[in-house]
Structures are given as C-alpha cells and as structure tokens.
Symmetry: C2
Amino acid sequence: MNKGILVVVSGFSGAGKGTVMKALLEKYDNYALSVSVTTRNPRPGETEGKEYFFRTREEFGKLIEEDALIEYAQYVENFYGTPRAYVEQQLAAGKDVILEIEIQGAMKVKEKLPEALLVFITPPSMEELKKRLIGRGTETMDVIQSRIARAHEEAQGMEDYDYLVLNDQLEECVERMHQIIQSEHYRMSRNQEFIQKIKGEIL
Amino acid sequence: MNKGILVVVSGFSGAGKGTVMKALLEKYDNYALSVSVTTRNPRPGETEGKEYFFRTREEFGKLIEEDALIEYAQYVENFYGTPRAYVEQQLAAGKDVILEIEIQGAMKVKEKLPEALLVFITPPSMEELKKRLIGRGTETMDVIQSRIARAHEEAQGMEDYDYLVLNDQLEECVERMHQIIQSEHYRMSRNQEFIQKIKGEIL
C-alpha cells in the first residue's frame, strides 16, 4: 500500500476547485501538486515552477518528442501539458499527486494511466452553479453564454469521472476529497502485491 | 446521495470480521446489519432474528419460490439465505446495509446487485493468518488442513472484491471500513440523479 495515486481533478468553472486543492495540500502532507508546462507567456505575478513551467514552442515540441508529457493539449494559441518525470517520482515516493486539468486532458490521462483516479467537483446545486456562471450582474451576455456552453460541455464529460464531490462548505469538501483519495488506496486493484504474496504463501 | 449502499463483507477465517462489524455498528448509526435466514437448528444462546432467522426447509423453499431471498446457498445439510425485504427497506431508508457472507454468496449478490460494495477483510500478514489458521497448538492436523484449504479457496476469490481491508488494529480497521463505505457514496455511478438534474438544468 505504498505507491501514490494520481488524482485528476476537474470541475465546473466556479466550482472552487483551486481553493479546495490549495486547502487540501496545506492540511495534509501526503499530497504533491503537479505543475503543468505551457507555451503561453507568464502573466504578472506568475512564477516559473509555481503556476506553470514556461517553455518555448520549440522546447515544448521536444518534450512531446521525448514522451516527457503524460498528456498535452492545445487551447487557442497555446500548448499545455503534464510533465511525466515529476509525477512518476512523487508517485514512487508514495505521494498522491493532484493534477488539476480540463476534461479533455483528464480523459487522455485515464487512457494512458487507467489507475488514475478522476474526481469531478461541482457546486451543490444548479442555482448555485448558475449564480456563479452569471456572475454578479457585471458580466456581458457573451461571457455568460460562453460559460454556460462550457458548463454544458463539462457536464457531458462528468460521468466518465470516478467520483463526484460537492463543494458546499470548503472544510467539508476538503475532508471528503481526502477520505475519498485515502480510501482508494484500499481498492483491491491497487493491492496486487499483497494479494500475490498472500496467495503464494497460503499454499 | 440518499440511498444506502449494500456492503458485502467477507474475509479469511480468523480475520476478525465479526468483531470489526460489531464495532462498526456500535460506533455509527448509519448502518444496519442484514440477518440471514437458515434451516439449521439454533445453537444454545442463539436468538431468533439476532444471529439468524430460523426456518424449516419447507418455509425456506417458499422464500426461494417467492423470490424473497437476494441469494441463498447450501452448506452441508443446511440452507442459508439473505432476506430481500429487510435489505431493501433499510437501503431505501438511507442505511448502509452490512451483509457478512461467504465468497460464493458474495459473488451471487454482486451478480444480482452490481451496485453492491464488496469488502474483503484480511489479517495484516501471512504469518498472522497462519498463526490464526493453525490455532494455539490445540488443533488436529485435520482441522488445520481444512482451514488452509478454505483460506486457499478464499484467496482465489478475493480479487473479485472491491476493497481490501487489513485488520491490524481493531479501532483503525473500523475507521477504515467506515471511510471506505462513506466515500463510496460519492462514486459517480451512485449519483445518477444529481447528474441528470444538473445536465437538464444547464441547458
């Protein structure tokens, strides 16, 4: 029961997943956060290796060639990817690695690494989600439309996730996430070594 | 997230599953224990409806005919079965129902009710299991052999369970069981109602 679990976290925009993940990492030390690599320029206040690893297109292309990314995707003009080495090191060290990515990326991860655990975070109710999508009355109709379209797309993919976590109250949501991930360590399929050992010795 | 989960618990003889389940039911009030029905005679100290529901062969046959049992099996001369009505009532009331049965029964339940959660309890190590199988030096070779044969058979089936729980220290094992079962409520597949609702309302 020593290897870490790769936990892919997605969710509706406005579900507050960033806040939940931050709180989870602060509260428990058995988690490591996977930092994505991107070709986009750093925004003011962003630091190399914290929000992202910032790379040129050429460097990014090389990472793809070397199979150094678990998954990657293009959004508009820019590429985003998940560096393999860090994730594998942390998993081997027994850390559960949190990977906060979009649905498309999540599906690619699941395809390559079927043992990844996919968690979808949602606001507790539709009213709450709509409130968050519409904003505080300061958004243009265009922004609202595109957020709803996005939420619609996200909802189509949510069934492919393993767990659904409601973010009603932050502290509770963090605990729920933690217990789901820790319980997952006891899944039969994650304990092949123990099973083989006990089967062999029983004869 | 209101319906209860049917939790099937099996494990190596001597894994202490009876003690774990008793402690779980005493500590948390969201569980209900399914009591089996049997055609065998009550042993001294056994009470109708507590250890078992005691029925004649004829009555048992009628339960089968009426599809009133989720599963049943014959061991040696006697029949054992799981009454459906109690389980369904408790699940509908939101209770997680604990069903402590043998591997064969567990597989039948999984076949009929794929949403059942199967948990296998094991001692933490092979030495510990052997110690428990061999006993305190007071057992005959025959008894030991049959226990090892039984454990061997149980080990073959353990991979079909969903979770593997080590019973090293009772209190920890009870907590682990509780968290596994409660986390399972957040499985995507158990939240179809919420998914359909949110999908419908997002449009």
